[in-house]
């Protein structure tokens, strides 16, 4: 904990979360609230997604292995061990990669489930919301002076397109992973931002 706070002081040039500028504090609160809201939406999205994929998706014993998704990795186990700015940078990178993947998933689902407008709308909204949360997080990082030094690699659109050419089953599994990753990264972002919110968890 102390190490993270020390890093924050060093990297974000802030003494404590309480001493943040009011407008930055408001922005952090706003971004945190958005992340909190999106984490709820992500749960609904995952539930809606599974519901339309057919059995055994959604059955209790069915848990396909987490195949790597091009351009996006799951939050590492050692994520909490990283410094807060580093974690936020990883969060921002994941949120930047997620919209393209969600778009790929939506397009495949539009073919598979053209009569599931709610699912399609959720996927479309999720892509927009991930993009919005990523932008808000970038703003916070920039305000904290913790933005990534160089430009991030472009979103894995090509890789996602390649994934989209795979079989339907793979596409379903990919969509499941993407939806799960979306929820995980949004939740992780919420947790990481929570440490910046005054009065939040230390």
């Amino acid at each position: 904990m102390s190490q993270r706070e020390g890093n924050l002081e060093d990297d974000a040039q802030a003494d404590t979360p309480i001493s943040l500028l009011p407008h930055l504090e408001a922005k952090i609160r706003q971004t945190h609230s958005l992340a909190h809201l999106l984490s709820k939406y992500a749960e609904q999205l995952l539930e809606e997604y599974v519901q339309h994929q057919g059995d055994p998706f959604g059955l209790p014993g069915f848990s396909p292995p987490r195949l790597p998704v091009a351009g996006l990795s799951a939050p590492a186990a050692g994520h909490t061990g990283l410094s807060l700015p580093e974690r936020l940078r990883l969060d921002a990178a994941a949120l930047e990669a997620l919209p393209a993947l969600l778009d790929v998933v939506r397009r495949r689902q539009a073919e598979l489930n053209p009569r599931a407008p709610r699912l399609l709308r959720c996927l479309e909204d999720a892509a927009l919301q991930a993009r919005a949360l990523g932008a808000a997080l970038d703003t916070v990082l920039a305000a904290l002076g913790a933005a990534a030094p160089g430009p991030r690699p472009p979103p894995p659109a090509a890789a996602a397109a390649a994934n989209s050419a795979a079989g339907v089953f793979s596409a379903k599994v990919l969509g499941l992973h993407v939806c799960s990753l979306y929820g995980e990264w949004v939740s992780r972002t919420e947790g990481d931002l929570g440490q910046l919110v005054p009065g939040g968890p230390a």
Binding site: G54, D55, P56, Q109, V168
Partner: protein
């Protein structure tokens, strides 16, 4: 198994050929056997050749081979010669020889041996029938696979079977599968050789995905040459070629994303490097079929329709999952209800119903293609989403100048296709668009033009349009018109026979000839036609003013159908024979004019004017012809109408006019009028102004040449109602037995109908009586008089009781019902004659009785004296009464009467407990002596001696303890003066038994005090009336002074015992002191004395 058309095998198969050719083969085998036997015989004879066999693969060269005879080595044969015309010989190098095909028939073949056998030779007979036709082994050109569809593609050529002439070739292809190289398919098909080197194709779809196992393919052929007489055999199998899948590092399931027909059987496999644990389809697990290595498969039969996203097939591996999705659905149904029409002759719109859902969506959804075979044009319909029972639509652009179309709609999806066709003449299938831009333009007041826009090119056909014309308060009118279609979509028609100054609403719809469908109605267009001059003059009437000097002209506003515009003003003029007097214009809202005329013989003319001009004049004569024979009649309407009738009058030449007004209005009164033809004898008057319960006056006028004459005057109601007020009535006179009532008329406005009579109720009753009986209950004490003479205004009610309160009620009624009631209380006067009679008769009787008694007593005074008061001799002078004192003292019975002066102050009660009464008060000596006989008859132990008491009585209260002495009789003497005041209340008096009360009783009420008396006299007048007992009889016989009843504070009755009754003389002649009851008590009167009933 699919084979391309050029490869399509004949209907019969090789197997069948085998069956058909079996006899031939048997014959061939028999011939070969025979040949072999002959060769053996010859060889054995002459060093015969062994295992001679001749074959051909091209029918051109025979290849014969044999084994050398026993003992002959290689190289011993020199040549082979054939004994034919050329006697050709062929050097023999090895154990076989190739010789050109020989003609049919037997040919002798000589084999010359150069060494051994001593230059001998061997011979044998060779025939074509001894030569076998064995084609060359075919070669596979290519073997390829489409793994996505699990299809093998095989190509080869018939080069090995190339003959110059046509022959039928049967090909046999076998498919083997690892790991056991089991034969999984063996197919044959036939081709015909055409002399050219031809490449043949064959494809086959595996039920097991090709990725799941290595597949091998081989081929051979059989040449069926009709003109070859020898035996025919299959060629050798070609070398096997295989198709295998290069497994990836990751496990993968096959087939991927396959679309299958619902109900089909399908096998899925998983190609994996690691062990597969389970396989499931959806949530159902299936047994694993091990293929080779770690590859496994599952097989599902009769698969059901998939959901939109497909049916998931999942293989669980130790550390992974592999899966695929299968889409089970149906091929497209035949498009149903295909209908094609056009709206504008530019585009054809075809609608259809897709029929049974395919269960396939997205990229697997059904594509529709609409093709016109005449023009060759087609359009395609494709979309991902399919809604159930949705009607599909395709737009087909029409080629110019084409009317007839042969349209074929083809539905395709991965599982198949279907089609539906329709042949239409599109000019007969026109459903025009909705007309737009409808406009109306005036031509004159009754003719307008309608123009509208109808999109489309209808130049080649006629349009039938329907115009709906609607005006307020009228039924809509439809006009059908036929117009020739135009190219520019603008149309114009004329609509006539309209009414001037009328608001019309037009709308239009169109169809074509021949009729197919109407278009939708256009939106309505309102239009007001222009004005025209009024068609008629206004309906006029005139009334003379009450003073007869002025004539008031009335006219009705013209109805809109006759006004033909907005009436601006009216011109009123009057004319006589000498002059024409013109009046100024009267503007429209006013519909009356008052003329001051010097004569009463004018013709009044009224003209209505609108912006288009004046109307024809309406004329009416001003003269009113008098009618002396006029009666007033009554009429009642029915519903909201009233019917008036009259006898025909030949003198009426113009018309009849019925005018009416509210009777309550002052004259001249006019609500409305109605004109009926002169030949009419009745009229039904109806007006919205008529109200029920309102009296109207109707006047029937007949029009004659000189003027109008009032023929009838009728008062009437549309509907009669009950009066809303009661008649005011007063009591004019009251006597002891009658009341005279007078009432007033009810005003007409409040009568609300023709008065049919009055109902007069009367009953006894007081004003303050809390609740009077209802009049409708019909009680017998309520008397009713129905007065049907409506002119009667008074009523005398007789036979009433004097000095009695009566309640009088009066109600009026009409045919509409009874009106409200008005009531009044009246008290009749007292009957004074009876009172006088009641006083005089007793007095007279008393006087007469007194006089007679006095006279008789006077005349018989001596007798009376002697009888009742004889002279009493002086006892002192009686010797006989001078008894010895001793003798007298010894017997009570002989006690002599002592005439002591009586001092009647006290009453002594003596108890006769002993023979000798105990005298407690020695000062009193009872003057009463009872005879011994009476004593013996009386109870011996209860002997009471009562002394005579004057009115002054001293009360002695008995000892209460004495009450308990049942066997003791006691008499209580009470002050008579106080006891005998009857203070019973009227209700108590009612309870007196008249039998018990026999004997004289006081005849007056005895008040307790004066105040109570006065109050009781006022309030209880009735209760005090009549005879009543004067005391509580019960107290006489039963009640002792100390009994509870005697002490009842509410009952002021003072009871006295029977002993007192013998002393009650004082009631006969009451004393004149103040405490005695007075006969003229407030509640008691002589009038009551004569009443029979208490209430009467």
């Amino acid at each position: 198994m699919d084979v391309s058309l050029c490869w399509r095998p004949p209907a019969w198969t090789v197997g069948e050929k085998r069956m058909r050719t079996a006899p031939t083969l048997r014959r061939l085998l028999s011939a070969l056997t025979l040949l072999h036997v002959m060769v053996q015989v010859n060889s054995q004879k002459r060093g015969a050749l062994r295992d001679l066999k001749c074959t051909t693969n091209n029918l051109q060269v025979w290849d014969c081979a044999w084994k050398a005879p026993l003992g002959a080595g290689h190289g011993t044969v020199n040549e082979v010669c054939i004994d034919d015309r050329l006697h050709s010989c062929y050097p023999l190098e090895k154990g076989n020889v190739k010789i050109p095909a020989l003609p049919p028939g037997d040919h002798e073949v000589i084999v010359n041996y150069l060494h051994g056998f001593n230059g001998s030779s061997a011979k044998f007979i060779l025939n074509e029938q001894n030569v076998s036709l064995i084609p060359n082994t075919p070669e596979i050109l290519t073997l390829s696979a489409d793994f996505s569809t699990s299809t093998l593609y095989l190509t080869w050529d018939d080069r090995s079977c190339a003959f110059a002439h046509h022959s039928k070739v049967t090909w046999e292809i076998k498919v083997l599968r690892t790991p056991r190289m089991e034969l999984i398919n063996l197919v044959t098909f036939n081709t015909t050789l055409n002399g050219r080197d031809t490449v043949h194709y064959w494809r086959w779809t595996s039920d097991l995905p090709l990725q799941c196992a290595t597949h091998y393919v081989g081929i051979r052929c059989y040449l069926d040459h009709l003109h070859f007489a020898g035996p025919k055999e299959w060629s050798a199998w070609s070398p096997l070629m295989n198709i295998s899948w290069a497994p990836e590092s990751e496990a993968k399931a096959f087939p991927q994303d396959k679309v299958v027909l619902v109900g089909s059987n399908i096998t899925f496999c998983c190609v994996s490097q690691t062990k597969v644990l389970s396989g499931q389809i959806g949530k159902t697990f299936y047994p694993l079929i091990h293929l080779y290595g770690q590859n496994v498969a599952i097989h599902i039969q009769n698969i059901s329709v998939s959901e939109n996203s497909g049916t998931n097939v999942v293989f669980m591996i130790e550390d992974n999952v592999c899966g695929t999705v299968v889409f089970a659905g149906y091929p497209p149904d035949v498009p149903q209800k295909l209908n094609c029409e056009t709206h504008d002759l530019k585009d054809i719109i075809c609608n259809w119903n897709p029929g049974r859902p395919t269960g396939l969506v997205g990229p697997r959804n059904t594509n529709y293609t609409l093709l016109d075979s005449f023009s060759g044009k087609s359009v395609t319909f494709k979309r991902f989403e399919t809604l159930t029972n949705e009607s599909y639509q395709l737009l087909f652009q029409m080629p110019p100048h084409q009317e007839i179309y042969n349209l074929t709609l083809t539905a395709r999806n991965p599982l198949g296709q279907s089609e539906s066709a329709i042949l239409v003449n599109i000019t007969e299938r026109v459903c025009p668009h909705t007309p737009t831009s409808l406009k109306v333009k005036d031509i004159n007041s009754t003719v307008v033009t309608l123009s509208w826009h109808l999109p489309g090119n209808f130049a080649r056909i006629n349009l039938v349009c329907q115009i709906e014309i609607w005006k307020p308060n009228s039924k809509q009118e439809l006009q059908n018109i036929t117009i020739k279609g135009v190219e520019n979509s603008s149309y114009l028609v004329v609509v006539d026979k309209l009414n001037p100054y009328t608001t019309y609403t037009f709308r239009i719809r169109c169809s074509t000839e021949p009729f197919w469908k109407w278009s939708k109605w256009s939106s309505g267009k309102r239009h007001l036609t222009t004005e025209a001059i009024p068609s008629k003059g206004p309906d006029t009437w005139r009334e003379w003013s009450s003073d007869g000097r002025n004539l008031i002209i009335y006219w009705k506003p013209l109805p809109i159908s006759e006004a033909n515009g907005k009436i601006l003003s009216y011109n009123v003029s009057c004319s006589s024979h000498e002059e024409v007097q013109s009046m100024s214009e009267i503007l429209d809202p006013q519909h009356r004019a008052e003329l001051q005329l010097v004569k009463d013989d004018y013709i009044i003319s009224v003209v209505a004017k609108n912006s288009a001009g004046p109307s024809p004049p309406s004329r009416i004569a001003s003269m009113e012809i008098p009618n002396d024979d006029l009666t007033v009649e009554q009429a009642v309407g029915l519903g909201k109408k009233i019917r008036l009738s009259w006898p025909p009058d030949p003198n009426v030449t113009c018309d009849y006019v019925i005018k009416w007004c509210n009777s309550s209005r002052s004259e001249p009164c006019l609500m409305d009028w109605k004109k009926v033809p002169s030949n009419s004898t009745e009229a039904v008057i109806e007006s919205d102004q008529f109200r029920p319960g309102v009296r109207y006056n109707f006047f029937l006028y007949g029009c004659r040449s000189q003027g109008y004459q009032l023929l009838r005057s009728i008062i009437g109601y549309i509907e009669e109602l009950a009066p809303i007020v009661a008649p005011n009535f007063t009591v004019e006179d009251t006597s002891a037995d009658s009341i005279l009532v007078r009432w007033e008329d009810i005003p007409v406005e409040e009568l609300r109908g023709f008065l049919r009579g009055y109902l007069f109720y009367f009953q006894k009753g007081e004003r303050d009586t809390p609740k009077m009986r209802s009049l409708e209950t019909g009680h017998s004490d309520i008397k009713v008089k129905n007065i049907t003479d409506t002119s009667q205004k008074t009523l005398r009610i007789a036979d009433l009781q004097g000095k009695t309160s009566y309640r009088l009620v009066l109600r009026a009624y009409t045919d509409g019902g009874l009106g409200p009631e008005k009531s009044m209380f009246v008290v009749t006067k007292e009957n004074s004659v009876g009172l006088i009679i009641a006083i005089l008769i007793p007095v007279a009787v008393a006087v007469i009785v007194g006089v007679v008694t006095s006279t008789l007593c006077y005349r018989k005074r001596e007798w009376i004296k002697e009888t009742f008061y004889p002279d009493i001799p002086n006892p002192e002078n009686c010797k006989a009464l001078q008894f010895q004192k001793s003798v007298c003292e010894g017997s009570n019975a002989l006690k002599t009467l002592e005439m002591n002066p009586c001092t009647p102050n006290d009453v002594e009660v003596l108890e006769t407990r002993s023979i000798i009464p105990k005298i407690e008060d020695t000062e009193i000596i009872s003057p009463v002596a009872e005879r011994p006989e009476e004593i013996s008859e009386a109870e011996p132990e209860n002997h009471v001696v009562v002394s005579y008491c004057p009115p002054i009585i001293e009360e002695e209260i008995a000892n209460p303890a004495a009450d308990d002495a049942g066997g003791t009789s006691q008499v209580v003497y009470i002050d008579v003066q106080s006891m005998c005041q009857p203070q019973a209340r009227p209700e108590d008096e009612q309870d007196i038994d008249p039998i018990v009360g026999a004997g004289y009783k006081p005849q007056m009420r005895l008040p307790i005090n004066s105040a109570v008396e006065e109050t009781a006299a006022e309030n209880d007048a009735d209760s005090t009336a009549g005879y009543r007992p004067q005391a509580n009889v019960n107290t006489w016989n039963l009640v002792s002074p100390d009994s509870p009843r005697s002490t009842d504070s509410n009952s002021e009755i003072v009871s006295f015992g029977s002993p007192c009754s013998v002393n009650s003389r004082q009631f006969l002649i009451p004393p004149k002191d103040d405490d005695s009851p007075k006969s003229n008590g407030g509640a008691w009167s002589f009038t009551n004395f004569f009443q029979n009933k208490p209430n009467d």
